[in-house]
Symmetry: C2
Subunit: 131 residues, 2 copies
Amino acid sequence: MPMVGPLKLKAQLLCGDELAMGPGKADLLEAIVGEGSISGAGRKLGMSYRRTWLLVDTMNRCWAQPLVEATPGGGEGRGARVTPAGLEILAAYRALEAQLAKASEGPLKALEQRLLNAPRSSQHGASQDEA
Amino acid sequence: MPMVGPLKLKAQLLCGDELAMGPGKADLLEAIVGEGSISGAGRKLGMSYRRTWLLVDTMNRCWAQPLVEATPGGGEGRGARVTPAGLEILAAYRALEAQLAKASEGPLKALEQRLLNAPRSSQHGASQDEA
């Protein structure tokens, strides 16, 4: 996801209860473009084949047209490609991210002035939180 | 976090490895304003006292000035208030969220046209994923 200085931005598109597009799925589409297969993309991203395949299946079920399709041929090493619709959706998502990053620059200034570079240590022995 | 139609946006401000401000911490500050105590705010948000207190501690360590301070008095039910610096940071964070929501409207249109209202069912018996 885009980082703008200390700001981390995340944009997720929902389709019902499922996540149609987000940072992980956009990265996966780019990896499929680069690797030419679902299995290769999963390896590149350090994901299991099953997980990679589930992400592709979810994407293909959430949009009017499939984003990824098998390339002709068959067998164990058969390939996959991102469809023209998938490439357009990927580009539109990256454009949305870029627009969000740009829009954050102004409002971020007031916050950055007060934000420390590193946290002070806790006076109470507290551990980190994640909220 | 702001929802813009099917789009879920999340903005997180990092201070080193810790999260200085995000949706949960902003909600917590608002609950402290409303409830007048850390324990009351935690109850309102359904969090344990320990967790609520850790979130406050993290915020107070990440910014140039504390965001939350104890109100005078003492004992079990002693109160807390959001400091003037805390109120300014909260307002600036909410302004950032609003700016992001506004900036997303244009780029979102191209995506919404292709997004289904609900996912098609899987042809392969796959379960949901969370990426």
